[in-house]
């Protein structure tokens, strides 16, 4: 158990560093899509909610878990849709457009 927590801390630290290095390179042009994409990815919290609601260990847990799934799923779906919509709009001036 203690070992689990420690390795989790290491994972967190490494992921934070990777996040810094990767995201630092994102062009300011794409900061809005970046935020909506990380928001969609962050909604991976839905997996915790699914287990909570599905295991049905108590009624409270099942109810809260179910609401949590709704909230997170709407982020997953909405986040990916809008990120893709935004990115489709970004065009280079390379070929001449009407």
């Amino acid at each position: 158990m203690k070992l689990d927590l420690l390795s989790s801390l290491y994972v967190f630290m490494l992921a934070a560093f990777i996040g810094f290095e990767v995201i630092r390179r994102v062009s300011p042009l794409l900061h809005t899509p970046l935020m909506s994409l990380t928001n969609a990815l962050d909604a991976i919290a839905v997996v915790g909610a699914i287990i909570l609601a599905g295991e049905h260990k108590s009624n409270l847990a099942a109810i809260l878990g179910t609401i949590a799934i709704v909230a997170a799923t709407s982020n997953v779906v909405g986040g990916f849709i809008i990120t893709d919509r935004m990115l489709r709009m970004f065009k280079s001036s390379g070929p001449k457009k009407p």
Binding site: F12, A45, S74, I81, R88, M89
Partner: protein, 466 residues
């Protein structure tokens, strides 16, 4: 199907691949050329993770899962299809949803486990619930202000910081007691309610111009609360996704606060909105020069190099499509047109870029502040559309100005400056802008959309170079 051997291994493999795909997703987002591939990677990773989770052996009740997943999808589709001008409030709303999910899961986990909770577990659980609840109400408040359901003006009162710190402090104290005595279960609701109030109080003093920083900060909080949830559930996938989101929000907050010349502690402790109080007085009527659309059109068509500086006013007036027509009309006449984008122009990071991209303006014409400032002294016309503070030369020259030291777009160095503005009323921050009184500045009074439309009409009317 949830009982076959090896399901656990399969789930772990799904999570492992999903994690890698999430990191790749953000990596590919770094340039517009590969960005859509990044979204695809994120989607595949998400599908794998959710699909894998559904195999979990402990799941006994699929009916409600299905209902919840479908309901979430039904809500998510319209949220993904909002107008581009509504993106800031949509983003704030999605931070609220993410935080809601985290808070609810944290609450359920507490009541499932209490009173048998180790101090470390209780610490991360408290962090999860505190960050989650304050992000939930804070983001709802931000969304309300952006949607203009709530008054956009900052509301400040005496002792505001004291009240806020007191609220946050008492939440931390309650958390401390619960860490030492997890059997004191009746204290737990305070761990939710106090931060919920704190979230509201935190956003009350925030004005519109501070929104880019605030949204980034709430983004960071949402990510950190998800990472804390990962610790509680011992899910590496969640820890990593939360850490990525947290660091993304953190980086954006730092960029935004630098662009507004705020110190980092100022951001961390939510010390926004103080600027507004100062500098509303001393507004004697100084003479300004104004021009008509015809005059503006002839000056623009005589130029070789034009830099357009958009701000929130362009978004409010929905003028981006007219700006595109202006861009076309000038480009056709051989005028070189680029856009100068300040990091905090608009209401969220990258807001202007998205609106201009929506209007089909090529992204290689959208230049960052640092790249355009060197060009401005050789620019014939700088056309400011609905931007104010980010062009205020007082930030460079007047040490008594509340925005002194803030990096700005040096539009005053262009040969001619034209500013489209509704009236001479001071901007959102209530700070007078000396730019408007310069000898080579022309004020174009009117609604941004109409005015740009009129300039375009003039340009397409007379054809010869001016």
């Amino acid at each position: 199907m949830n009982n076959f051997a090896g399901a656990d291994t399969l789930i772990e493999i799904c999570y492992f691949i999903a994690t890698a795909l999430f990191i790749l997703s953000l990596k590919w987002l770094s340039s517009p050329a590969t960005a859509r591939r990044g979204v695809l990677a994120g989607e595949v990773g998400m599908a794998l993770a959710i699909g894998g989770t559904l195999l979990h052996h402990g799941i006994v009740d699929y009916k409600w899962l299905a209902i919840a997943l479908v309901l979430g999808t039904i809500i998510g589709i319209p949220l993904g299809n909002v107008q581009m001008t509504a993106v800031p409030q949509r983003t704030a709303l999605s931070h609220a949803f993410g935080a809601l999910c985290v808070t609810l899961v944290g609450t359920a986990e507490f009541y499932l486990r209490a009173p048998d909770i180790s101090p470390f577990m209780m610490t991360v659980l408290s962090m999860e619930v505190i960050l989650g609840s304050l992000t939930f109400t804070g983001s709802l408040m931000a969304a309300g202000k952006l949607q203009e359901i709530l008054p956009q003006r900052p509301i400040t009162y005496k002792g505001q910081n004291f009240v806020n710190l007191g609220l946050l402090g008492s939440a931390v104290v309650v958390a401390g007691i619960l860490v030492a005595h997890p059997e004191q279960m009746r204290l737990f609701p305070a761990l939710i309610i106090v931060p919920l109030i704190f979230g509201v109080m935190l956003i009350i003093p925030i004005g519109g111009a501070d929104m880019p920083t605030v949204i980034s900060l709430l983004n960071s909080y949402a990510g950190l609360s998800a990472a804390a949830m990962g610790f509680v559930l011992n899910s590496k996938l969640l820890i990593i996704a939360g850490a990525l989101d947290g660091s993304s929000g953190f980086i954006l907050s730092v960029i935004m606060s630098k662009a507004m010349n705020r110190s980092f502690t100022n951001v961390l402790f939510g010390g926004f909105g103080q600027i507004q109080a100062a500098a509303t007085g001393a507004k004697e009527a100084r003479p300004v020069k104004s021009a008509t659309p015809e005059e503006a059109a002839s000056i623009l068509s005589a130029a070789n190099k034009v830099v357009i500086v958009p701000g929130y006013g362009m978004a409010v007036a929905q003028a981006q499509h007219k700006v595109r027509e202006l861009y076309d009309a000038l480009t056709k006449r051989g005028v070189e047109v680029t856009f100068g984008i300040h990091p905090v122009a608009g209401r969220m990071p990258g807001h202007m870029n998205v609106l201009l991209a929506e209007a089909d303006i090529p992204y290689d014409k959208l230049l960052e502040m640092d790249n355009i400032n060197g060009d401005l002294p050789q620019t014939d016309v700088a056309l400011v559309i609905g931007a104010n503070d980010v062009t205020n030369p007082a930030a460079r020259t007047d040490a008594s100005s509340p925005i002194y030291g803030m990096p700005i777009l040096d539009v005053d160095k262009a040969r001619t400056v034209m500013v489209i503005k509704r009236s001479m009323a001071a901007g959102f921050a209530g700070i007078d802008n000396p730019l408007y009184y310069l000898d080579h500045t022309l004020m174009l009074f009117g609604d941004a959309k109409n005015f740009v439309g009129n300039i375009v009409r003039e340009l397409s009317g007379g054809d010869g170079h001016g």
